[in-house]
């Protein structure tokens, strides 16, 4: 007992005890608002603008009297339930949208909604404007190979504006940051038709490709034929020119024979005879004139009588 009392009077022990007490008191009487939060401190579940804490830091409360509601300040997303609707040109589509929202007035949020479940329920109702807006656009303004025709961004902007305008009537303390389309689907029956069309298209494309290939191959072969004929035509012409020049050159040499024509003709006829009788010749000779001396005794001119 004496030791305990002594201990209590020890400064260190006292200090620690005081610290613990302070911590407990701080826990009971203080609260912290993070940088990404806003808080509403209610007094017996009522709050005024003065009770809204928008800056991060420590706040104070009285247990059992004050109650603090904290709300995140960051963006949040809400996805829309799929809905089927028609475009302006009566094409059935299923559009899934989403919106990005945040709390911009914690007091109003607290007074009107209090929690996220109610907020999301309210926003889900407002998102029904999205299919209505899509119904004012044609299908080819949703998807198109010409990007200039696509109006998806415009639809999202209009949807956001419409939701904000509607939201203003309710004063929920919510800000819609952005609306986006995250999926565009076709209904079951529509996909069947699309698939049949895709199959037909591809059969046609396959046939067209085959035909195109054959046509091109034929053209290439025809081009080869034509090109080779053109080149050969020039080659033959040039060859003919070369041979002609040779003949002219040879003809020039023949001028040397002019002064001795008879002898030149004799020699030429001998050569002609040898060339003529070189192949494919059957000679019938007179059996009475088998003597080598008598063979062709009349010379080249008499060959016509002995030859067959």
């Amino acid at each position: 007992m004496d030791g305990a009392a002594t201990d209590m009077k020890n400064p260190l022990t006292l200090l620690i005890a005081i610290l613990i007490a302070l911590v407990l008191l701080a826990y009971m009487f203080c609260f912290q608002v993070r940088y990404d939060e806003s808080a509403v401190r209610t007094t017996f579940n009522r709050a005024t603008e003065a009770d809204v804490i928008r800056t991060a830091g420590l706040g104070f409360k009285i247990p059992l009297v004050h109650r603090v509601y904290k709300y995140p300040r960051q963006n949040r997303t809400l996805e829309m339930v799929s809905e089927q609707n028609n475009t302006f040109d009566s094409v059935s589509v299923i559009v899934e949208a989403y919106l990005v929202w945040k709390i911009d007035d914690p007091l109003k949020y607290f007074n009107k909604l209090k929690n996220d479940a109610r907020a999301e329920a309210a926003l889900s109702q407002l998102m029904r404007q999205v299919p209505a807006i899509i119904g004012t656009y044609r299908f080819d303004q949703l998807v198109n190979t010409d990007p200039a025709q696509i109006r998806l961004e415009e639809i999202e902007t209009l949807a956001g504006d419409a939701i904000r305008a509607d939201l203003a009537n309710y004063d929920y303390g919510i800000e819609v940051v952005q609306v986006g389309i995250r999926r565009i689907l076709l209904p079951d029956a529509s996909t069947k038709e699309v698939f049949n069309r895709m199959k037909s298209e591809r059969q046609r494309m396959a046939q067209a490709d085959l035909s195109r290939g054959e046509a091109e191959a034929t053209r290439i072969r025809s081009e080869a034929r034509s090109a080779s004929e053109r080149i050969m035509s020039f080659a033959q012409r040039e060859a003919s020119l070369i041979e002609t020049r040779g003949k002219l050159q040879a003809a020039g040499l023949y001028a040397a024979y002019e002064k001795h024509q008879e002898f030149a003709i004799f020699l030429r006829e001998l050569e002609a005879l040898k060339a003529m009788l070189e192949k494919n010749t059957y000679l019938v000779l007179d059996a009475n004139k088998l003597s080598p001396v008598n063979l062709f005794t009349t010379g080249p001119g008499a060959l016509q009588g002995d030859e067959q």
């Binding site: 030791g3 085959l210 080659a235 001795h260 009788l277």
Partner: protein
């Protein structure tokens, strides 16, 4: 514990008959003493533990940041700012890798953010659900066995994308991102996103939106065949969405995986691919034949020759005789020399063209050489023949004995050559016989037939080459 004494106070031991004083100073019995000792020890231990806990608590705020992380500090929930030398705030203080001091919770709180590459995948949003029991089968396998399977899509179960040509495709996506480099990016991330889990969720939805916008402008064939371009198009769209929401992140890469036509359409798509392949093969074969034919015609110089011929024909058509003559001369020279200049290179003319030209040159040379040889022989014999100039011409021709010796000799040599020929067949007709029975020499006939066949073959070859 001794009490302090007031030196001006009279102190002397008093014996009081007060019961309390008597009890306070009375010695404790052993049990009580033991209890007192135990309590003293307990309190001492408790003090030690408390001191240790306090010290531990005070130092619990020390934190380390990994190399692939950055950190920010909250003090009573407020982001700790960085200040310059003039104590002007510079934005949120960002802690890089290393050990740092901070106050313990709940005073200070550390938020660590990974800076390494992160990925988000869209695996199911735009893909069909495979039939039960077939989850492990590939799309190709399912398509090959489609047999009516996948004839339509159930929008509650199957995902898909609508393309710009109003077709349907399936695809999976992978998005890689990381925290931005600057302190402003870190602050934006912390304020507007808060954690990687939230970043993943928000980025997933933003990626879905970007995918819808992107695919809406491409054809189905482009999505399936040129998927790299699709990813490149989607990346800036997604980055724009991220920047609009101040997420402080950088999109590194967007890639599309497994882009496919619906199962029931895939065989038709494959038929297109097959047709294109066969078409390409057909064209390649034709090109190869073209190359082969042209090389056979003119060797590697055929493009240059064709270019000259095109120029010549164009000049003729335009009536530009001068240009036509010039090109014709260049063409002639190219053929004669069998070389042509093209794009700074000298190409050799080969093939049948070169053969024709070579044969023509050869024939010309042969003709001229033969005539020259003949002339040489003539000029060589001429002096001898002029010695017999007195004999009349008729006698020289009719009566072989009247021929001058040298001419007679020439005539005899000619006869010998004729009779020695391989193809000569000789027959002897007896006197008075007016009909002949001739047996043809088979060797001679065979040689004639072989020669005829060779000539026909050569003619056909020339026709084939020149007439393709």
């Amino acid at each position: 514990m001794s009490q302090s004494r007031n030196p001006f106070e009279h102190h002397h031991p008093h014996h009081h008959h007060d019961d309390d004083d008597h009890e306070a100073h009375a010695p404790l019995d052993p049990a009580q003493q033991s209890l007192a000792d135990a309590l003293r020890v307990s309190f001492l231990l408790l003090k030690v533990v408390m001191v240790v806990l306090v010290i531990f608590y005070l130092f619990s705020g020390v934190f380390s940041v990994e190399t692939d992380h950055k950190a920010v500090l909250l003090r009573f929930g407020k982001l700790v700012q960085a200040y310059d030398e003039n104590r002007e705030p510079m934005g949120v203080r960002v802690f890089s890798s290393g050990v740092h001091l901070a106050m313990p919770l709940p005073i200070d709180e550390v938020i660590q953010i990974p800076t390494s590459r992160q990925t988000v995948t869209l695996n199911t949003q735009f893909y069909y659900q495979k039939p039960p029991g077939m989850e492990q089968r590939s799309h190709t396998e399912l398509a090959a066995e489609s047999d009516g399977m996948g004839g339509s899509l159930n929008p509650e179960r199957d995902g898909s994308l609508l393309t710009g040509d109003a077709n349907v495709v399936h695809a999976r996506w992978t998005v890689s991102f990381e925290l931005g480099d600057t302190a402003e990016d870190v602050e934006n991330f912390v304020r507007n996103v808060g954690s990687i889990d939230r970043a993943t969720k928000q980025l997933t939805i933003a990626a879905e939106q970007a995918a819808v916008h992107t695919v809406a402008r491409f054809t189905a064939d482009q999505i399936v065949q040129v998927s790299a371009a699709v990813g490149e198009t989607m990346k800036p769209l997604l980055q724009e969405l991220v920047d609009q929401r101040g997420m402080g992140m950088t999109i590194l890469e967007v890639s599309i995986n497994e882009p496919n036509f619906p199962i029931t359409v895939t065989p038709s798509y494959n038929a297109v691919l097959d047709a294109r392949s066969r078409s390409g093969t057909s064209i390649n074969n034709a090109r190869r034949e073209y190359e082969q034919v042209m090389t056979e015609i003119a060797g590697s110089a055929y493009p240059a020759l064709l270019e000259l011929i095109d120029g010549y024909e164009a000049a003729v058509e335009l009536g530009d005789d001068e240009a036509a003559a010039d090109i014709e001369a260049r063409l002639g020279e190219a053929l004669r020399t069998r070389t042509v200049e093209h794009d700074g290179r000298v190409l050799e003319v080969g093939g049948l063209t070169a053969q024709y030209i070579s044969e023509a040159i050869g024939a010309r040379t042969q003709l001229v050489a033969a005539v020259e040889a003949e002339l040489r022989e003539f000029l060589g014999l001429l002096p001898y023949m002029q010695e017999d100039a007195d004999l009349p011409i008729e006698q020289r021709r009719v009566d072989s004995e009247a021929l001058p010796f040298r001419m007679h000799r020439l005539w005899a040599d000619a006869k010998q050559t004729i009779f020695e020929g391989e193809d000569i067949e000789l027959g002897f007709m007896p006197a008075g016989q007016v009909y002949l029975e001739m047996n043809r020499d088979p060797d001679v006939l065979r040689r004639r037939e072989e020669r005829r066949l060779q000539e026909e073959q050569e003619q056909r070859r020339r026709q084939r080459a020149g007439g393709f």
